[in-house]
Amino acid sequence: MLLVQILVNGVLLGGLYGLMGLGMALVWGVLNVVNLAHGALIMLGGYLTYYLFTGLGIDPFVALPIAALGMFVIGYCLQRFILNLIVRSAMLNTLLITFGLSVVITYLAQLLFSADFRTINPTYSGANFAVAGITIPVVSLAAFVIAFVLAGAVWWLLNEMTIGRAIRATAQNLTAARLYGVDPRNIYALTFGIGAALAGVAGGLFGILTHLTPYVGATLTAKSFVIAIIGGLSNPFKVILGGIVIGVAEQLASLYLGPTYIDVISFGLLVVVLVVRPARSLRAA
Amino acid sequence: MSAAEPPILQAKGLTKRFAGLVSVDHVDFSLARNEILGLIGPNGAGKTTLVNMISGTLRPSEGELAFKGERIDTLPSYRRAHLGIARTFQVMKPFPGLSTLDNVAVGAMFGTGGGEKSRAKAREKAREWLEFTGLGNRLEASADSLGGPDRKRLEFAKALAMEPELLLLDEVMAGLTAVEVDQVVELIKKIRDQGVTILVIEHVIKAIRSLSDRVLVLHHGEAIAEGDPATVLENPQVVEAYLGKRRA
């Protein structure tokens, strides 16, 4: 029974992890940018939701799409006016500039929101129900469902919509995409905006489930990173699955080895996945 | 082909599969010392895969490969380079950030027998090979600033600086005009005269005709014809699969 509960915890947690990884994987896969500011964007989305909730009294789940929209605009502008300036320089430079951006965002957030921790705490935040003796927290379940819905939306966008095909086309061959009528400046900004919007939703849910400080970004970037790699960059559902794998692995590690081993497991898993699947990694190089 | 000497390269039942697809299917062939073998065939017939297996970039799924009588099919590429096998790449691969001289010096430093240990001497040799291939006036140019034909010369110089016994040339004439093709044909003949054995992959039939001692035709990974150029290029199967009626 304990094991089942732990597995359920892991799976539900994994949904949120997957959602964090989703935006990262999208931006990475399409723009070839490993966005070290992704965690900072998640944090920003969390604060946006927080202020919509505490400031305007909007229910957090209603606030999520608004926060996502706000984050989309921020992401769009970041790419359009900053990252687009360097997309053609070395890969290392995109790493550095996003690292710089994460520092800037973090410390701006500290100036704006102070270093105090915040929680998004609606009345139903601790609600739960039991199925056959297994407790299921309502908010975690909602986060899990939202993760899947958004993965579906991303999949639909990329595979069934013209703009999505343009996004993928740009990712695969910039020159050809330009020759076939795609404006890459817009497509890049759009993609980064969508990535930021996904980060925004993840941030809102993260704020409801745990707490926010301006500094949570760094850890979340690392986590999103791991999940994006384990899930692969091509299929949104696989990213969510990657999140679930990490979630379950962490919970099992926590149960059998002790919670201090959580990081060993998730990062160890990352290295193992990379090393035992060299074929894929080499092809993508 | 001299009967006394064993072939410099001997392939038996060479096969490569990628995820179930057979790219090269039980191909047998051999190369005699100082011979030029032309390898032709439609796109996707497995020509580059074959070269990759000889140079060590890919491991064969099946079959044997011997160089001067010694099995080499499990050796890593650098060991084969030390034994005396050099190649050019279909998509040219200069070291873009280095000067032409340094590009070629890499070949001299690491080629046959492990290459020249002194960096200064290696650069001296590299200079000679650049002269030989007609790039003597572009020693300090960075490799990615070179135009098409110069890039090909650089590719040659890099391979030659390794002082190979066997040289594999993968579509070195693609994109050249007829006159430039003639120049490269002369260059290859000059290299052969220095005692190098050469395997040429090419779509430029005129060049194949004038260069090759023998021609091997691959189609869907299988060798469908082999022999002297005149005979092979008139083989109806080859005309059907590769040459087309207009050129036969």
Partner: protein, 313 residues
Amino acid sequence: MIRLAIILVGAAILACLPFFTGAVFMQFAINALILAVLTQSWNIIGGFTGYVSFGNSTFYGLGIYGTAVAMVKFSLPFAVGLGCGAVLAVLAALLIGIPILRLRGPYFAIATLGLAAATGALVSTIDLAGANTGLVLPLVRADTMFYELALGLLLVCTLTVLWIATSRFGAGLVAIREDEDAAATMGVNTTAYKVIALMMSAFFTAIAGGIYAYWISFIDPSSAFDPTLNVRMVIMAVFGGPGTVLGPLAGSFILSAVYEVLSSWISTAAALLFGIVIVLAVIFTPRGIADVLVGVRRHGWRYLTRNIRENRL
């Protein structure tokens, strides 16, 4: 030759500094020198070989812990401790390097990042290493010694890099960076070269860690395996010009100084400004300071806008 002269004269001048400066400068300088060693070591694997390692903080941590555990738990002298740390890190580089150096591009970078995080997390569960509470080393009041040690290490490390830049071994590494497949078919034993480069990088990084441990006298996993330290190595090397001999030194000294000035003058906004500096540096000088000097001489200050024009969409 000119580079050798610059290095030796620079080292001689720096060696005299402790006799003219105070304790605060020593404090800053030891840190800056250690960072410069880390940057220069990173340059071997990241700059010359082209493998962007985010795992060098692992070797730093192992150097720190090797030294600290040897000194605290086994009461060995400092020199032996340094050796333990170095051996540990070099062995780790060998064992880790063989599987991980098969990965390329971003995949290598990420694997090393994961490795650094995993090693840090693992060490913090090992009781012999003081778990997550850290270890206390004996206190020594000898900042000048630590300064000269760090300077000596930087000198040896830089001379090694100079040797790499002019040797056959270095030519092999650069060939790997420029095109690994081509390098292999031209006779470069790519696996061995990469692993050796990583081991060299690990060696200097670990020694720097050992010096740091003894100097700072208290260590714990979060400071020893700090991933942002690795980011700093990369930034400094890239800022200065990776794959050059003096660029990484210039990059690390300049950025250390900028960070120090920022954090002592405008304490609270220092990190924010540091972030902005990085963003601007990447936009305007994407190929490092070494390139700025050449570029500005050739194109004047239009060089900066030229960079944007070349790299934007």
